[in-house]
Amino acid sequence: MKSLLLGSAALALSATFALADTVRLGTEGAYPPYNFINDAGEVDGFERELGDELCKRAELTCEWVTNDWDSIIPNLVGGNYDTIMAGMSITDERDEVIDFTQAYIPPEASRYVGLSADADITGVVASQTGTIQAGYIAESGATLLEYATADELITALRSGEADSVFFQGAFLADIVAENDDIVWVGEPVPLGGGVGVGVRETDGELKDTLNAAITEMKEDGSLNEMLKKWFGEDTATF
């Protein structure tokens, strides 16, 4: 009922914004549990569920689109899709090019993994290109080894190309849980300002609509439930 009310409020507020129009949601599709392609070949994951729910509450028709991580911002700016929901942390550098809604995932820990608990985290460290983790390694003084997708990182670690891998904790957690040879190294490092929906700077109305829907989900606790479902009971919530 509440979502119905808010939906109609949003409708009334943004009379000029053509709500009947489809909003295209861009994602990477290679980043479980945030977003990935499931066995049936469809976009799935936390962001799929959240995005669909946000669209329902804001009464938008939404369509999912996958795009390479490398060119995910240029294609948003160029108008190929209207939002980015791809586990993208809010940072000042990105904020200069695009806008973010409020965070829908609180700031979370990035972590090192290696083949042993005393693996070298100051030597060659692998991370994904254009991520906050890659930025952190580049400034930490270690040698950064960049890969285009996250799942290449573990291969690089096993083949000995990298001494350790530094990446978002939630992505690594499943891998550590299921592979005996991969273990946590060192302490978690808090990075970034949380994950938000990326929108074009000129798309103020869409941003407001999404912000309203996220606020509503934060208030009624449904966002926290969703976070726990996908990231485990111990994950940070709002």
């Binding site: 290679a30 549990p33 392609i37 369509e63 294609n75 160029g78 108008g79 799942d151 891998i175």
Partner: protein, 303 residues
């Protein structure tokens, strides 16, 4: 979730190797992978004739006696051949897409008062979007595919133009002189003498281009089309048990091995077909190949 093709696939964790594999290889994701082979073949089937057309036009224009036209043809060949493919693909497709939207914007939304370029953003009115935001996903995919096709045709057309230009020049001068002696006009001798004979000279260059084109198809993913290399990478990546019924380690090697075989088989097939075409075109030509064929035929007749 879509029902699996085989009813036994509902609980793959309990299956043996072979049934497991048959289930694994028929997931929706794999079907999309197989379909992408069709995408690549379709691209080749459409792009090759289109590029040849661009090439033929480019070469004919470059040979023109009207100087500005000749400059146009030579400029096209020189510029497109000189720019790295990847830069061309990244720049040209975006420019083409934005040019289309800009034109539609000018026509459909004359009252629009905001600038189209706002900082980094390219903003046109909703009804000028190409394709429309509300269009189903397949329309977007077809549009993306068409952009890819045109881009491939332009790039490979420039190389083909250079090959055909050379081939046209290689047709023996004596042939054209004979045509002139018979009173043919320039365009008559072009269509009746030069064009039919130039293919033999063009074929080695064109077959090279065809091979390169086959191998260039992975550039499709740069244009947002999900091609076989994208799917091989996606399917081959290591999967944990949490989000798939079919967890596995890093299997990219096997998928890429499959792609290797596909490309090898396809280029081998192309070679066979091209050899046949060369043989056919050599008939009656005053070339080494043509002479050999003539002797063969004579030998066969006398024996």
């Amino acid at each position: 979730m879509r029902p699996a093709i085989f009813s036994s696939c509902t609980d793959p964790a309990n299956l043996d190797m072979l049934p497991w594999l048959s289930c694994y290889l028929t997931t929706g994701k794999h079907l999309a992978f197989y379909a992408s082979f069709g995408t690549v073949l379709l691209l080749l089937a459409v792009t090759a004739p289109l590029a040849l057309l661009f090439g033929f036009a480019g070469a004919s224009v470059a040979r023109s006696r009207i100087t500005p036209l000749a400059w146009l043809g030579k400029g096209y060949i020189a510029i497109v051949r000189g720019v790295p493919d990847i830069a061309f693909f990244l720049f040209f497709v975006i420019a083409l897409d934005q040019a289309v939207e800009w034109l539609r914007h000018k026509v459909k939304c004359p009252d629009w008062d905001q600038p189209i370029r706002q900082g980094n953003d390219f903003v046109v009115c909703q009804i000028a979007k190409m394709p429309l935001n509300s269009a189903p996903q397949w329309v977007h995919e077809v549009y993306g595919f068409s952009l890819a096709m045109v881009t491939f045709a332009i790039v490979f057309g420039a190389f083909a133009a250079n090959v055909l230009y050379g081939a046209m020049q290689a047709v023996p001068r004596a042939q054209i002189e004979t045509a002139e002696a018979y009173g043919m006009s320039r365009s008559q001798s072009f269509w009746r003498i030069v064009v039919p004979q130039m293919w033999l000279y063009a074929l080695p260059g064109l077959s090279n281009l065809w091979m390169v084109l086959i191998k260039a198809t992975p550039l499709l993913f740069l244009l947002g089309v999900e091609d076989i290399v994208y799917w091989a990478r996606e399917l081959g990546g290591a999967k944990t048990t949490r989000f798939t019924e079919y967890p596995h380690d890093d299997w990219r090697m096997w998928y890429f091995l499959g792609l290797l075989l596909f490309y090898l088989a396809f280029t081998k097939l192309s070679e066979i077909v091209l050899t046949r075409i060369t043989r056919r075109l050599s008939h009656g030509q005053a070339t080494l190949g043509g002479e050999a064929l003539r002797k063969d035929a004579q030998g066969g007749a006398t024996a």
